[in-house]
């Protein structure tokens, strides 16, 4: 008999996939955006069911909230109608579908084959195992700071991987500034690159984007701003 939460998990998963399909298949951009929203919210549901409450909340606020609003704004501002829907990727779809089927088959077979084994639970249930000679928070549920580093229970990085701390703000924070501090910091570099790239590719004054307007006279004969509605060079010879 299925647990209620497991049943819900299946429902949310199904909704997430349906939302994704809707995004790909809907002709009208707004419909696609709504499907994406649907998918995002379902994901938030899955996170919540998995006890990752912070992530679930962030998912709703950031993705389902901020990002989706931006997407919808852009669609409205650019006034994209269904007429702009492109059909050039139909051939790609024809090629992609068998691949997708193959992938699903492989993964499905794999999933079923491991479903029987009780896979090792990802999170440690018991007390934290300390390396010899190192003080650490051995019990994460007693409200006592065992190793005296001014971080108690789940707030201590030692407890980041322990089940009772999972999904809490403390544990996420401890994880981000503990084991995952490097990706956390590098993500900021990535964001910097993203911002600069976005400004560079889109942040030109309107006149400079127009292919018909010649470059301003300020740079006579320079190589600057050879922009315009350039297609990629023809792809002759591409197999």
């Amino acid at each position: 008999m299925m647990d209620f939460s497991v049943a819900l998990l299946y429902v949310f998963s199904g909704m997430a996939v349906a939302g994704g399909l809707g995004l790909v298949l809907c002709k009208h951009p707004i419909h696609g955006a709504i499907s994406l929203l649907f998918s995002m919210l379902s994901l938030a549901g899955i996170y919540a069911l998995l006890d990752a409450h912070l992530i679930a909340a962030l998912q709703v606020i950031i993705y389902a909230g901020a990002i989706m609003i931006l997407v919808v704004y852009i669609i409205m501002l650019l006034d994209l109608g269904s007429a702009d829907a492109q059909t050039v990727y139909r051939k790609a779809g024809l090629m992609g579908l068998p691949l997708l089927a193959l992938l699903l088959l492989l993964l499905g077979q794999g999933m079923i084959s491991v479903a029987g084994d009780a896979a090792a639970p990802p999170l440690a249930q018991g007390p934290v195992v300390c390396p010899p000679g190192v003080a650490c928070e051995t019990d994460c549920g007693d409200g006592v700071d065992q190793d005296g580093d001014n971080m108690t229970d789940c707030a201590d990085t030692d407890c980041a991987g322990v089940a009772i701390c999972f999904g809490t703000v403390e544990a996420v924070g401890a994880n981000l500034l503990g084991p995952f501090v490097l990706p956390f910091e590098i993500a900021s570099v990535l964001l910097l690159a993203g911002i600069v790239g976005a400004i560079l590719l889109t942040g030109r004054k309107p006149g400079e984007l127009e292919p018909s307007v010649p470059p301003p006279a300020i740079q006579p004969g320079s190589i600057a701003d050879a922009s315009g509605s350039s297609e990629a060079q023809d792809t002759e010879g591409a197999v």
Binding site: L103, G110, V196, L200, L209, S230, E231
Partner: protein
Amino acid sequence: MGLYLRFLPELGMLGLALALFLVSVTIGGESDALDERRRDERRRTAAYVSDRIGLLGSVGVLVLAALAIWQNGTLFFDAYRVGLFSQLVKIVLAAGLVGAMWLARDARNIPVRDRPEFLLFMTLSTLGMMMLVSADELITFYVVLELSAYCLYIMVPMASGHGSHNEASYKYFIYGATTSAVSLYGMTILYGLAGTTSIPAIAAALGAAPSTLALAAVVLAITGVLFKLAVFPFHFWAPDVYQVSTHGAAAFIAATSKVGAVAALLRLLLVGADVEQLYWVLGGLAVLSMTFGNLAAIAQKDLKRLLAYSGVAQGGYILLGLMGQDSAGYTAATYYTIGYLAMVLLCFLVIVEVGRTLPESEGGRPSNVLPISALDGLHQRSPVLALALLVGLLGMAGVPPTAGFTGKWLLFKAAIEVEAFWLVLIAGINNTIAIYYYLIVVKAAYVHGAEGQPRLEPGLMAKMAGVGVSLAVVFLGVFPQWVVPALDRAMNALLGG
């Protein structure tokens, strides 16, 4: 200090990136208060300064990377592993960055005002690759993979017209985003199976007899890197991207980023260290890649497209070394990649120099094409460049005594040690095909006359670089014992733990 030393090359790269960023926002910053002449002046200053900073800074990073070569150990809660392997590759990457910076020094079709940013992206991308080599944990790996890839996505449209219908940039970006999503998917399954994101811990958890699911997960996880390497089913972007990007960016993508991709693949394959079926997957990809790349290259009229397809084939050769997942094969693959870096840089040196003589735009659109016929009579127009091209192409064709020959020798030896006889046979036949189209290019440069071709006046530095790198390719080929033992040690350390 020891810990900082471990992170020295990356810190250097970060510093360089920061310097370029500062140039971009201070000197290069736009201000409406300035009149147009002053603004133009400032843009030129910014471009000039950032060019110098980029070149000198990358040389500095090369020095730092060399200083940090003997570092060993982990950083950041074991998420980052520094060892001989990673440090060697960082040196190579830094050298590749120096080469690409120099080739990009007067990047065609990159607006002067965008030059600091262009170099910034090149730097950040290399930083990403450097970190990929050391990333010992999947989330770190994924983030730095994105960092290195994202910068490349932006460098391509920069040279070929902003924001408009630039097919190649879209293709590159969408394929890249898709494969990295697939990669991420594979990594999540790996996490689900092992309960950890640490690469060695996953390898231990998967064990010697992994399930179909684990195999599928590993294969999915490496697609992102295979995309960067442009191996057969993930190669679609390469020809278009090479062709439309400015020559410097194409050189960076073709040479430096390939080194990063190979090294990252070595690192990521560690998760499947005991997955034997990977032998068949990688072997199959190698065959497809070699055969497809070589056949497609024959038909090309544009030198950069030809190099792109030949790069697909070269990726196949490199996979020959990876399929056995043993230190001999990894050594061979890394050695070959180092040689390949030098050979591609040689070809792009010629492309950049010859490219200067071609019109910058065609029909109002920026043009970065380089038809093979533009090389006609190169031997008369510039014997040094012709020689550089010859060494580069013959190296890729695997003709002795270049590093290309020795590298193929090592790769074949490694493949035959894991009893992949048929693969070696197919690789041999493929090499015959490859020699054909490389010779077509050599023919243009050496056999055709220079009638009607514009004059070529490579600077002293270009000549020196051509001769120097050519000598390095030959030297590396004749005396592999100067490099291979170090690589061997590095690989043993990598595979041992």
